[in-house]
């Protein structure tokens, strides 16, 4: 995104090019122009721009994309860690 870059080399985005059928859906849904498409195959053009929203993975018809999408704020993650350790009841999220 213009004027904004987050940490490098952290995104969990993975693309299985062999499975890709070149439908272009991932390019359509990604708000950060992470993918490019050439000769009926998608490729990851800019992984560091990925915000792990999960839109591409959810909309890929052949499940060629995986990404660890989910809550992305400090309190949300703390709640999640507490829940994993069974210290807190489920609930609580970012951006109400």
């Amino acid at each position: 995104m213009k004027g904004f870059r987050y940490l490098k080399e952290v995104s969990t985005l993975q693309l299985d090019q062999a499975a890709c059928v070149g439908c272009g859906r991932c390019l359509e849904v990604c708000p950060h122009q992470v993918f490019s498409l050439a000769e009926k195959k998608a490729s990851i053009r800019d992984r560091d721009a990925c915000m792990e929203c999960g839109a591409c993975a959810l909309n890929c018809p052949v499940r060629a994309i995986t990404v660890d999408a989910g809550v992305g704020c400090a309190t949300g993650l703390i709640n999640e860690w507490l829940q994993e350790r069974k210290l807190r009841a489920p609930g609580g999220n970012c951006c109400s």
């Binding site: 995104m1 987050y6 490098k8 849904v29 950060h32 915000m51 839109a55 992305g72 704020c73 951006c95």
Partner: protein
Amino acid sequence: MSYMVPPGLYAIGTPAADDPVLVTANYKMSYDIIRQSLTGRNVWLLVLETYGINVWCAAGKGTFGTGELVRRIESSRLAEVISHRRLLLPILGAPGVSAHEVSRRSGFSVSYATIRAADLPEYLDNGKVTTPAMRELTFTFYERLVLIPVELVQALKPVALIGGVLLMLVALLGDTASGVAAFCAFFGAVLAGIVLGPLLLPWLPGPSFALKGAAIGLFWFGFFYLLAGGDSWSRPVTLAIFLAIPAVSAFFTLNFTGCSTYTSRSGVKKEMRIALPVMGGVLLICAVLLLAQRLL
């Protein structure tokens, strides 16, 4: 004031059976913006139940999602009202909606139109083709500003609690004036982290939100030092405040990653793994400094 619009099918202008169908959340503001930007046109608007939450956040939670969309198509009898089978969705709704699932379950095809409602007229005039600019996300000063009130409200309870405890502790250990001063320092650090951090985001140093927050915290420390007559503080007290304020601001700016639209969950995790122990350590050092000052 209500932030919700009842879900269902709405008409903007006098749409016919072959006019486009837009899908949105029942967040009042999204709904109003769409209505405004499309006045003078004839389109259908299918409003999903997202409990008054905007498209982006609702998609993340899954309420703006495949299931709700399919249910709403059925309950609004959309198939009987319109003749085509194409739905136009906001791009930021895509994290909750699986286009191929929707078409498998409802027979409607999904196109992701634009990110901003303001681009919809151009999109429709453009023969329903999304230009690169329409799918490029922005995070302008104003876009950040409107997110801040909710953040403030959410922080209110824990902040009041911690602030109150702090006030009492310091007042008990020292005197009431110091207690009030400590509360002000803390409250200012929270405000700096929640309000100034996000507003000044692009101008604060580094990609890390925790560092950005710490930077704005330092700024508040300088201000507070001048305001509260810092030259009369003892060294340990000055050091403790100098350390504690940036730590508090850093936490709240880091929390803003939940609202930002370019930070990744893995990135925030990485920041937290470093930042939380550092913040904890800093607060511990502060406590030791203040106690030592008191007891020695």
